[in-house]
């Protein structure tokens, strides 16, 4: 403390001769900081309408408003946030939770307007709205408002390092490629409890996945139950829409994950693996689910095919109280799921677990029974009140090139390898095709080679018409196949199977592909006839696609079944074909060739059968 003085204060007189510090607003203005938290901006092109901003808002200042002009696609709703600035406290939590990073705050904060209705506003941004957002030379502070804003004036912006959601998924433990390619050991080992809870915690519960799932499973609920440490509740939620969780938890095509809002700036939630966690954690489905079929209706339904669609419709119909009999030519349930996916992706025990539960509800399975061979289709029609056809695509197509009859067909090959009499492979194999079945065939071949020729050099080549960016197989499958050492030859088309003197395969003559699809996007490959290549190999498996086998349906009935222009069976909104009482679903009806679509079809058809039989 200095000396107290009465005269000291007069030193302040010098400030009389200094320039004032006060800004003469609005003629003098101060620019707001780069991080300023002002009015909202929202990029409508990246916003998905997930509604997380509305959920996090502490003041309920944000509501989601529907915009019918926006086309809803999987992963995008037609809703956009609407702000009430009478409530907003500019905390910016909405910015930090926004998975798309579309919502941010700008540096302007002044709102001058005669109309108080302008206080609530659906924010856009300079990229989408030229009327509100003006370049600096056209902007005037005297008109500054929510309808007269400055362009390029972003303030507080999303930063993934400070986001309120976790962009990184919990890594799924798996067997490394060098080890897994030596045997049929299941590649994915599955989450343990702690990992599953940690992954389930990432779910923002926005529900975009549920809209994208063909079966509209209650994903947020069953994942929420996992987070709460209640896999039993999770299983009950799953079984509301999907009765084959052990199967789907392994090889679902996961449309949900493609729609997950977390994928936009990070990795989507591992929804499929979480479903698998639930299905694997619970040993006894019957005790957990405690489901009882409704009182018997006295009506009987026959189901042709015990694939995902057949199993699901059996389940749903049985719960409604119908007597259900499922016919399948295979020795167990699962249909093409049993034939196709190799053990390292889907062990048979998992299929059997799901099938056994459905059987325990009182569904009768007649395996090793092929309709058309062991029993006539017309008998079914006569004996049962309704028939559901869920046969799937069971016949492999051939390329039909010269000597192609020497090649093996994918499904025959995969099916045989599921038995004890596994194919004796050669050390050099060529797989024709670039889809998921081709990947299965190639990776299975590699394993058979490693088992049958231990320590020897072996090679598996794949040839596909499609180039890298067009390959129909999932990215995951392609990457795993490459990690295991499969050689890819994309954009080459088979021309001729080359034989040696004794008539054995010695290679495949290929020609370079010019384009796979025509201008309208239809499959119509063209080639450079002069650019050829020979791939050497002593065994060729064709995996270029599958088709259905309707030979079990008598001709006169077949004529009554209508097909669409894409050669799919035409069904009405109840899943009924043009043949009364005959319902269909799955691969023979849908363009999407996957299990969950078949489940969705089965659900529709089950409801349809119920309406048909009770009405």
């Amino acid at each position: 403390m200095g000396k107290l003085s009465l005269f000291g204060p007069f030193s302040a007189i010098k400030f009389l001769f200094r320039k004032p510090k006060t800004l003469r607003f609005p003629f003098e203005q101060k620019e707001t900081a780069v991080r300023y938290r002002g009015f909202h901006l929202n990029d409508w092109n990246t916003c998905t309408g997930c509604g997380n901003c509305a959920d996090i808002c502490p003041n309920e200042a944000i509501i989601m408003e529907e915009h019918p002009e926006i086309e809803t696609t999987p992963g995008e709703k037609n809703e956009r946030p609407r702000l009430d600035y009478g409530r907003c406290c500019f905390c910016g939590l909405c910015v930090d939770i926004c998975p798309a990073g579309s919502l941010r705050l700008s540096r302007d904060y002044l709102h001058i307007h005669f109309d108080n209705a302008t206080f609530t506003v659906t924010p856009g941004d300079d990229s989408t709205d030229d009327k509100v957002f003006l370049p600096e030379d056209q902007y005037s502070i005297l008109k500054a408002s929510l309808v007269h804003r400055r362009k390029d004036y972003d303030g507080f912006s999303p930063d993934i390092n400070f986001s309120l959601f976790d962009p990184d998924r919990v890594q799924m433990p798996e067997i490394p490629p060098s080890e897994r390619k030596m045997s049929f050991i299941e590649q994915i080992t599955g989450y343990n409890h702690e990992e599953a809870v940690r992954e389930a915690e990432r779910c923002l519960e926005c529900g975009l996945c549920e809209d994208a799932c063909p079966a509209h499973m209650k994903i947020s609920d069953y994942i929420g139950a996992i987070y709460d440490g209640r896999p039993d509740e999770s299983l009950r939620k799953i079984y509301e829409d999907n009765p084959i969780p052990s199967i789907c938890g392994r090889l679902c095509m996961k449309h949900c994950e493609d729609a997950c809002s977390l994928r936009l700036r990070g990795e989507s939630l591992a929804i499929r693996w979480l479903k698998r966690y639930t299905a694997d954690t619970i040993n006894n489905f019957k005790e957990t689910l405690e489901q009882q079929p409704a009182s018997p209706t006295g009506r009987k339904v026959a189901i042709v095919g015990a694939g995902p669609g057949g199993l699901s419709s059996a389940y749903f119909l049985r719960l409604m109280g119908y007597d259900v009999v499922v016919f399948d030519e295979l020795s167990g349930g699962g249909g093409m799921i049993r034939v196709g996916p190799p053990r390292y992706r889907l062990p048979e025990e998992s299929i059997d677990k799901d099938v056994a539960y459905i059987a325990s509800l009182g569904v009768e399975f007649r395996f090793n029974t092929r309709i058309g061979r062991d029993m006539e289709f017309e008998e079914l029609l006569a004996e049962y009140d309704a028939v559901y056809i869920g046969i799937g695509n069971t016949v492999s197509r051939s390329t039909g090139v010269q000597n192609s009859e020497k090649c093996l067909l994918a499904l025959d090959y995969l099916e045989q390898n599921k038995t004890d009499r596994k194919t004796v492979v050669t050390s050099s194999i060529i797989v024709i095709g670039g889809g998921n079945v081709a990947m299965d065939v190639a990776r299975e071949s590699l394993r058979l080679q490693n088992i049958q020729y231990p320590g020897r050099d072996t090679i598996v080549n794949t040839v596909s018409l499609e180039d890298w960016d067009e390959l129909p197989a999932t990215e995951e499958e392609i990457n795993e196949a490459r990690e295991e050492g499969i050689i890819f030859n994309p954009a080459w088309g088979p021309r001729e199977v080359l034989l040696d003197e004794s008539g054995n395969i010695r290679g495949l003559l290929c020609m370079k592909v010019k384009s796979v699809f025509d201008d309208e996007g239809r499959f119509s490959p063209t080639f450079y006839e002069d650019r050829n290549m020979v791939i050497e190999g002593t065994m060729i498996i064709e995996a270029i696609g599958q088709g259905p086998d309707f030979s079990f349906i008598p001709k006169k009935l077949m004529e009554k079944i209508e097909f669409t222009e894409r050669r799919k069976i035409r069904v009405d909104e109840n899943g009924m074909t043009t043949l009364p009482g005959v319902f269909a679903g799955g691969d023979i009806v849908n363009i999407n060739l996957d299990a969950v679509t078949a489940i969705a079809d089965a659900k529709i058809a089950s409801e349809g059968i119920n309406t048909w039989l009770s009405g």
Binding site: L6, S11, R35, I56, C89, L105, E201, C203, G224
Partner: protein, 365 residues
């Protein structure tokens, strides 16, 4: 002489904040003072019970308008303690620098209120201007000028922008360069002493008995400071002093405030030198699902007005089960003030009240 009951506030020029005092006066002398709070009750503590852990974070700061930052700090500390969250070291340094900036800003604001109360308008204007320079720093760091919403559980919300350190130093130097002017015009002004010396005296024993902390206690010679007693953030990483004075009157309290500001600025310079690199935020769990294990925590920090405490209880749910703030203005504005006013002149009511640094929104919450 006739006794009168006099209502002082809430609408009164000498009253800062929505607060009132009922005075029993005899002439100009106060015989008895009864604090009369409740005009600013917003029910924050109850409101917080109905909101998730993260939704409370933009709200806690609003309890105290003058210095929202230490509110954010106690809330984050309590949540971190209950949830077992680690805070990166760099974030601790940033928090400390940020809190000290807030202390300087808050003291300058207090100085504005105090100086204008006494009629030292020139000094009041300076203090307001210098506070604004600090708000500019906050605006750059956090995006907000008053409610920064910056310290959140797990660390801080954003790292320093490029060149921010230099701008802190520059701003603090420009404020520090005016300390001689402040001194000659105000702190060493004989008139200031005449108005504040021996006014609103609170002895150490009284202060202790009534729960006085902060300047109230330090002005009686007791170096009581939570930052020293129970160091949090990075207060134990650099050396610093606890300024005290002996007389316990308004004059001493304001001098403690002055010395504290200077000490804070020095502390910021040291912290800036020692600041480590690295992360500033450990991600909290998904806010929509976050449940904090059952438990209770009491944490405290030294706000610019004294000891600020938070008692937080979780019953394992998505919201707090019980929240209670121990705000320094509560004892200062109710018990200490009632005591200090007895025997004072009516014209000194505002003087004493502001020297005790009573912030009405803290009392009511």
């Amino acid at each position: 002489m006739r006794e009168l009951e006099l209502y002082f506030g809430p609408q009164h020029l000498g009253m800062v904040g929505n607060f009132s005092i009922t005075l029993q006066v005899e002439g100009d002398r106060i015989l008895k003072a009864t604090a009369n709070p409740g005009y600013l009750h917003r029910g924050f503590e109850k409101l917080m019970e109905g909101r998730s852990w993260i939704k409370n974070f933009p709200m806690v700061c609003r309890i105290n308008v003058i210095e929202p930052d230490s509110m954010e700090m106690v809330y984050s500390m309590a949540v971190e303690k209950l949830a077992g969250l680690e805070v990166p070291e760099r974030a601790q340094f940033i928090r400390t620098i940020y809190l000290e900036l807030a202390r300087v800003g808050s003291h300058l604001f207090g100085l504005w209120a105090y100086a204008s109360m006494l009629g030292f308008d020139t000094v009041a204007q300076w203090a307001m201007y210098h506070r604004d320079l600090i708000l500019d720093l906050f605006e750059e760091l956090t995006g907000g000028r008053v409610y920064h919403i910056y310290i959140w559980p797990g660390g801080v919300r954003r790292d320093f922008p490029d060149g921010f350190k230099d701008r802190i130093v520059k701003t603090l130097h420009s404020i520090g360069g005016c300390v001689p002017d402040y001194d000659s015009t105000f702190f060493n002004n004989r008139l200031f002493y005449e108005r504040a010396g021996n006014i609103g005296k609170v002895s150490r024993a009284e202060a202790l008995e009534m729960g006085g902390t902060g300047q109230v206690l330090r002005a009686t010679g007791m170096p009581y400071d939570i930052r020293r007693i129970e160091p949090y953030a990075a207060y134990d990483k650099v050396p610093w002093n606890v300024p005290t004075r002996e007389d316990g009157d308004a004059f001493s309290r304001i001098w403690v405030v002055r010395d504290e500001m200077i000490e804070s600025v020095h502390m910021i310079f040291k912290l800036l030198d020692e600041m480590p690199g690295g992360e500033v935020y450990n991600r909290i769990p998904n806010p929509f699902k976050w449940r904090i294990p059952k438990g209770e925590a009491y944490v405290r920090c030294e706000s610019s007005r004294g000891e600020l405490g938070l008692y937080l209880v979780s019953n394992g749910g998505k919201n707090p089960y019980r929240v209670h703030f121990r705000t320094p203005s509560y004892p200062h504005g109710l018990t200490v003030l009632e005591k200090a006013l007895v025997g004072a002149n009516i014209s000194d009511v505002g003087n004493i009240m502001i020297s005790l640094y009573v912030v009405a929104p803290e009392i009511d919450r």
